[in-house]
């Protein structure tokens, strides 16, 4: 208690020295707090305002013909239910986008049409983030909902300039729809926005249901879904693993009826060379039929059926249509149950995709190397290279079922994350350099201060202070000064952040523009970051004071009193 009172009194008596030293500590704290908030701000901006729009925090891509740009999953409600069931998920967004050739007023350019779901359940924070990321210069997002023949469009001012259009003017598009058919449409510009994110200058936004219609999606079909998570960095991997497990495909089978009323289970017969060897050997299929992509194997006991063709029909999973097909190249084989047809997967999936049958039950009994699954689900990619390779390899399955890839932002948006990491690293180094310059000054001052007070130490020792008490006194003084200065430093840091974030910055066509929010630097101070800075600086100050105070305390009172600078 005595030491505390003495420490406070000493700080008060040496006011100028305390103020100068405290100011240095406060400045160091302010730099650390500001830099930490800036680095965290970059992460927040990237995760909540950039990656969310580009790839989501995690997601599922489904493609049917090996073209990753042509995304189609036939059972959207199933996919959504799988994703919405995860507790870490804040929001599920449908990612509808297509590359287009856009014709404006005498100019043309490539662009991306992106669907915006105006009914999406965004919370206030997300809505504000969207408004700050896309600052409307003309019109508003709700204008996308305008009904009429012309499809309302919102685009960046840079894209509007490239196409030579302004609000109220027309843009025509050409693109391939979800099934690969060429499609054309036209829309009217109802809004123009400004964005600091150069990646967001290419898209042209359109209301999602209008785009889905143009893309030829049925109401139950999906283009793939992206997830917005509560804690993306920590949860993305686990969520993707859970999704991957939940999306395990079943053996694809259709419960079909023949024109004669018989019920049959129709399976897809895999066409890869390894599988061909398997079923050709098992069922004795002649070589001349191995490459026939319409071959159907039936049990030899199905003699009652027409030997040349079998007409089948099956119920649809969604919609009112029922599926119909005629199997023409029939080969009766021994060893196959009469209620089963094995149909080459090329023909099988053409029918399956034409009218999707109800989801098959779990089936066992067939060798899975021989029959097809609902979809191909490759292992979850762990790196960007693996992810890209998987998308490329999907081309191998062009004639068969869809390929479903579960990803996280760490693979899908790695370029953006690398940029975030680099910016954080640069910030860290800049802060470290600045911080150590300030720290060296503080440390030197502390050392000198204690050295200057050697005679005072001698007096204290002469009136009965123990060495340990003297050292404790100096450490307490440093501790009090550091705590108070850190408090001031935090306040100063907030003032610096407010000052810096009020300066408008124009970074057009610069990737660094994406770290800006509303055209300004964005700081996101956190309690843990501030506490870390305060504890770090206080500990360093006390540690620095430790050695000179111990040396001084160990002096004999006579030596200390004789000390002259």
């Amino acid at each position: 208690m005595l030491l505390s009172r003495l420490a406070l009194r000493n700080l008060g008596r040496h006011r100028r020295r305390s103020v100068m030293l405290g100011a240095s500590i406060a400045l160091g704290t302010a730099v650390l707090v500001t830099a930490n908030a800036f680095a965290h701000g970059i992460s927040v901006t990237m995760f909540e305002r950039v990656i969310v729009w580009v790839a989501g925090h995690a997601g599922v891509v489904a493609s049917e013909v090996g073209n990753p740009d042509r995304q189609l999953f036939r059972d959207g409600p199933f996919l959504r239910s799988v994703m919405e069931g995860l507790p870490q998920v804040k929001r599920v967004d449908e990612a509808v986008a297509v590359f287009v050739r856009a014709l404006g007023k005498g100019r043309s350019d490539n662009a991306v049409l992106i669907g915006v779901d105006l009914k999406s359940e965004m919370d206030e924070k997300d809505r504000r983030a969207m408004e700050e990321s896309f600052r409307m210069l003309q019109g508003s997002w709700t204008d996308l909902d305008r009904q009429g023949e012309d499809i309302p469009l919102i685009l960046a001012k840079e894209k509007a300039r490239e196409l030579g259009v302004d609000s109220g003017e027309e843009i025509r598009f050409r693109f391939s729809d979800a099934h690969g058919a060429y499609q054309a449409s036209k829309g009217k510009v109802v809004g123009i926005f400004q964005t600091d994110n150069m990646f967001m200058q290419a898209p042209i936004f359109v209301e999602i249901s209008r785009l889905r219609g143009l893309m030829g999606y049925e109401s139950w079909e999906s283009s793939g879904l992206t997830l917005v998570l509560h804690d993306p960095v920590r949860e993305a991997g686990d969520v993707a693993d859970s999704l991957h497990a939940r999306l395990k495909p079943r053996i694809a089978t259709m419960q079909a009826t023949t024109s004669g009323g018989r019920t049959l289970s129709v399976y897809g017969l895999r066409g890869d060379s390894a599988a061909r060897v398997e079923w050709a050997t098992r069922y004795g299929v002649p070589d001349s039929l191995l490459t026939r992509k319409d071959l159907a194997l039936v049990g030899s006991g199905m003699g009652a059926l027409n030997p040349d063709t079998i007409a089948i029909a099956w119920p649809a999973r969604y919609g009112n249509d029922s599926g119909r097909a005629v199997l023409r190249r029939i080969l009766p084989v021994a060893g196959l149950p009469d209620s089963v047809i094995l149909w080459r997967e090329e023909a099988f999936f053409r029918s399956w995709n034409g009218v999707n049958p109800p989801r098959p039950p779990e089936v066992s009994g067939f060798d899975s190397t021989m029959v097809s699954f609902e979809w191909n689900l490759p292992p979850r990619p762990r790196t960007t290279d693996e992810y890209r390779k998987m998308l490329a390899n999907a081309a191998l399955t062009s004639a068969k079922g869809p390929t479903v890839i579960v990803y996280t932002m760490f693979e899908a948006a790695s370029d953006i994350l690398k940029l975030e990491a680099v910016l954080n690293l640069i910030t860290l180094w800049a802060v470290l350099v600045l911080f150590f310059i300030i720290l060296i000054g503080v440390l030197n001052t502390l050392r000198m201060t204690i050295r200057e007070r050697t005679r005072e130490i001698g007096t204290l020792r002469a009136i009965g202070f123990q060495a340990r008490q003297v050292q404790g006194l100096f450490l307490l003084e440093t501790l009090y000064l550091s705590v108070v200065s850190c408090g001031v430093g935090v306040g100063l840091g907030y003032a610096i952040m407010k000052g810096l974030s009020s300066i408008p910055i124009h970074l057009e066509n610069n990737p660094l523009g994406m770290v800006l929010v509303d055209g300004r630097l964005f700081f996101s101070p956190t309690t843990s970051g501030i506490l870390t800075a305060v504890v770090l600086i206080t500990m360093m100050a006390v540690a620095t004071a430790f050695l000179p105070s111990r040396t001084a305390a160990r002096l004999s009172p006579a030596d200390a009193l004789r000390h002259h600078e």
Binding site: Y182, Q183, A184, S398, K400
Partner: protein, 246 residues
């Protein structure tokens, strides 16, 4: 002889059904043997001038194989494409590597896509359009009498959901083809300008594809040196493609 004289008259008199015309177009386009040809594409883009492409083309429909070797422009020379069964590779001469590509991939920077070379039956993809538009009616293209009829897609994975054909009345050769999007926009018009007899059949050797969406874009396709000799199996291999590109 009588058959040769009478058939065109019979064909030209009464409007045939759209199904018969479609079936005829399918039969005409179907390859009965291997085929080799050189193809020259002159692609004109609005505001960019013309660009010429030359390629050698080897095709065998019996096992869905083809090889394309690019000869021009210089930037594409030596590159190639190989389709063998389900596999479709692109070969890059500079890197001497093969890469899997999908059926939507552009061939050598042209407007042609991988699926343009797929052998899907026209009658499985299209059927007569509903109403009067689908009924063949008499028309004239320049001075050539023709049947005009419209078809609609039976499946969704076709390039165009609606097409209008003009076929000659005397031999049912395809003369003109309009391709429409599902939103009712005319996307492309193809003119079949010249036919050449190959093994008793007429094969289109000069075609003009006009981009109706982006005015000024057009591609002239000229096919030459058509041969129907059997192509050795070795041609449809990576090794052969690589050896030809040196």
């Amino acid at each position: 002889m009588i058959h040769t004289l009478i058939l065109p008259i019979l064909l030209a008199s009464e409007p045939p059904t759209a199904a018969r015309l479609l079936d005829s177009l399918e039969q005409q386009s179907r390859l009965r043997s291997d085929a080799t040809a050189t193809v020259r594409l002159t692609q004109t883009k609005a505001g960019q001038g013309a660009r010429a492409f030359a390629l050698r083309w080897f095709r065998r429909d019996s096992d869905e194989s083809f090889v394309i070797l690019m000869d021009a422009p210089e930037a594409e020379r030596g590159n190639g494409y190989l389709r063998s069964g389900d596999h479709f590779w692109m070969y890059r001469r500079n890197t001497r590597t093969f890469q899997h590509v999908n059926r939507d991939e552009s061939i050598g920077g042209t407007d042609a896509r991988g699926d343009d070379f797929e052998t899907r039956k026209l009658t499985e993809l299209y059927a007569q359009a509903d109403g009067k538009a689908g009924m063949p009616v008499s028309d004239t293209l320049g001075k050539v009498p023709a049947w005009r009829f419209e078809v609609k897609a039976k499946v969704r994975d076709v390039d165009y959901p609606r097409k209008v054909y003009w076929v000659s009345r005397d031999g049912w050769q395809l003369l003109k083809e309009q391709a429409w999007s599902s939103t009712g926009t005319l996307m492309q018009t193809a003119y079949y300008l010249k036919y050449q007899p190959v093994e008793g059949r007429l094969v289109a050797t000069r075609m003009l594809f006009v981009d109706e969406f982006e005015k000024g874009n057009r591609t002239m396709v000229e096919v030459d040196q058509i041969r129907t000799d059997k192509i050795p199996d070795a041609h449809f291999t990576k090794a052969w493609l690589e050896s030809q590109s040196k």
